[in-house]
């Protein structure tokens, strides 16, 4: 139990769980009906947890939460909305960004970042041919890695194409965004040999560390990682990693982690609801920290300034303290421009999304290893999608 000072009169019992174990821990907790009022929720699980009856739309119990809606980044707002209602306030919200090493570009005589994905392959070949890097491009595509799909589908969205149609069908035909992306991955890995095959065992931190020692010229990661990559205390490439808009149309995937109210809190009555909402507001909303009557996004701002954690709240992009802190490692204008082009990947709201992911990731691995053709990989992921979709119905 702890009690925060600075005017927030709230006692909270926090159960701290390593993130790898968080989801299974919550499932066990909820199945055992262990009292839990507020849950940290990933967009990947939101629909399942809602269907399980664990989380509730907060606006049904606290209509004032709707005041936050205009200030949320659109992709984040969409991600946190189910059945037309808002389910929480953002804690960590981010989007995938495209980073390139400007010093390696100078070395290779490349003038500007790629405008298309094919151009990216050409740049990689140039870096390879000049003996600068053998595999300039690496992804965090270990199976189960939390950003696997966010990164891959960012490439799809950046082509200006949607991966899912209005009926919830996966679009995999020739000319679809997913087809072009799979083709591009296969070519990068097998034809040009510029995509690092080790990608299949890497998590984000591995890509970050490899980029920090200039073994990758590119990183396509959540923007959160650029703070560490450009940190002069730990990185050899500090100041060299720049942001460019995602190639082609510039769209990217935005994602959210929010704090949501549990059904148990609602069942506990109005005091419980008030207490849960107060915590959710403290973590993701505006609170009067100094007791002077002015409210601010306290937690989000502290995280942003101290750790570079992105937030999904529009006014904070203009906060002078955040701009000042972030300017040390990133072009804040470019970051904001990319965030404005982020879209929510709607497939995450389907109940079979989590079931499908391991099969999808397996096919991507096979594609990189040359164990399956683009057509067969797409046929397999589509078949699995359709099967799970039918089962869910």
């Amino acid at each position: 139990m702890y009690k925060r000072d600075k005017g927030i009169d709230l006692e909270v019992k926090i159960t701290d769980v390593p993130y790898d174990a968080y989801k299974s821990s919550v499932i066990s907790r909820m199945q055992a009906k262990t009292k839990t009022d507020v849950l940290y929720v990933e967009d990947n699980w939101m629909s399942i947890w809602d269907k399980a009856g664990w989380i509730v739309p907060i606006e049904d119990h606290k209509p004032e939460i709707k005041d936050y809606i205009p200030e949320l980044v659109p992709a984040v707002r969409e991600a946190m909305t189910l059945h037309g209602k808002l389910y929480g306030l953002p804690y960590y919200c981010d989007n995938i960004i495209f980073m390139y090493n400007s010093a390696l570009y100078d070395q290779a005589g490349i003038d500007e970042p790629p405008k298309t994905w094919d151009e990216l392959s050409e740049h990689c070949v140039k870096l390879k041919d000049k003996g600068i890097l053998d595999r300039p491009l690496g992804f965090a595509w270990k199976r189960g890695e939390w950003t696997f799909e966010d990164v891959l589908f960012s490439i799809v969205y950046s082509r200006g194409k949607k991966p899912i149609d209005e009926q919830g069908n996966l679009m995999v035909g020739s000319g679809s965004g997913l087809y072009d992306t799979f083709k591009w991955i296969a070519d990068a890995a097998l034809k040009y040999k510029v995509l690092d095959p080790k990608s299949v065992e890497l998590v984000c931190e591995n890509v970050q560390e490899t980029t920090k020692v200039a073994q990758y010229a590119y990183s396509i990661l959540p923007s959160y990682f650029i703070a560490a990559i450009n940190d002069p205390k730990t990185s050899k490439v500090a100041g060299q990693m720049k942001i460019a808009m995602m190639p082609e149309k510039g769209d990217t995937v935005g994602f959210m982690r929010m704090d949501s109210m549990s059904m148990m809190a609602v069942e506990g009555g109005s005091d419980q609801i008030d207490a849960a909402y107060a915590l959710i507001e403290m973590l993701g909303g505006k609170v009067d920290v100094d007791g002077d009557g002015t409210k601010e996004y306290y937690t989000a701002k502290q995280w942003a300034i101290k750790n570079g954690l992105p937030f999904g709240i529009q006014p904070l992009f203009k906060d002078p303290e955040i701009i000042d802190a972030w300017s040390k490692w990133v072009d804040v204008g470019a970051l904001g421009a990319q965030a404005a082009k982020s879209v929510f990947f709607e497939a995450k709201k389907y109940l079979w999304w989590e079931d499908w992911r391991p099969a999808f990731e397996t096919e991507v691995h096979k594609l990189i290893a040359g164990q399956v053709s683009v057509d067969d990989a797409l046929k397999n992921v589509e078949a699995e999608w359709n099967k799970l979709k039918a089962e869910a119905k």
Partner: protein, 302 residues
Amino acid sequence: MSETSGTPSDTKFGITSTLPTVAFLTVLSTAPLLYAFALSFQKYKLTSPGQHPFIFLENYAKVVTSYHFTAAITNTLIFTVGAVVFVFLVSLVFSLVLNERFRGCAWLRILILIPWAIPEMASALVWRWIYDSHFGVLNAILVYVVPVFDSYQSWLGDPRYAMAAILFPQIWKEVPLCVLLFLTGYSTIPQSLYEAAKIDGANAFARFKRITIPMLKPIIQIVLVYETIMGIASFAYVYILTGGGPADATTTLSWYTFMASFSFADFGQGAAIAVFMSVISLIFIVLYFRLIPTRRFGAVGV
């Protein structure tokens, strides 16, 4: 060879005194198993709260026809057989060495326990850094110290190495316990047998084959059964090191059970896979008992 057994009153006392413990342990281990078995015949998805109809074999059918099943069962068998064989052989060799009296032997017996004392999750994280394809110590050794390769290898990302890469930590972790078990087994073998064999002219190998191995059979059985169960249930190394990849090169039933239950939110399917795992364990155990018959408890003479 002769055999002695207790008197009827000894037997009665033995049964009476162990019955409460046996009953308690039976309930403790059987109840969850029965619950899982019952669950495997129900639809138990978190997305259908409160509705758990009996669906007979539907979960089993779903599991068997699933995308992951073939790889999971094949890899589980490869992993388990590999783990059992190597753990058995390595621990047998180590225990024979440690059974000899030499300087530092007592320290070595303690040191060898270290891997066993480290929690599996923690050791998996350490192994992840050892194997790291860009900065790992294993690669550094194999490229710079003992130059076997000219570049860093992807131990966890290359399908040729991935299974061996998760198998090795399992062997490393399990060997210490089995060494201990074997050492305990050696201490129960009467020295007079070895002395008699020596007088009869039996060399070291003959003594090992004719005395050590037959007398160790109950321990061998325990080691095989225990390691089979540990192999089938091994999870942390798969989850932390490879996530079941690359592709599905290290997808195992334990990984699949976890995913079905905690990612797909389908406890019915998770239970069905767990039943598969139990059946496989049972088949192995029956096989061991048939192939390695031991004398019944109470046998003390030779």
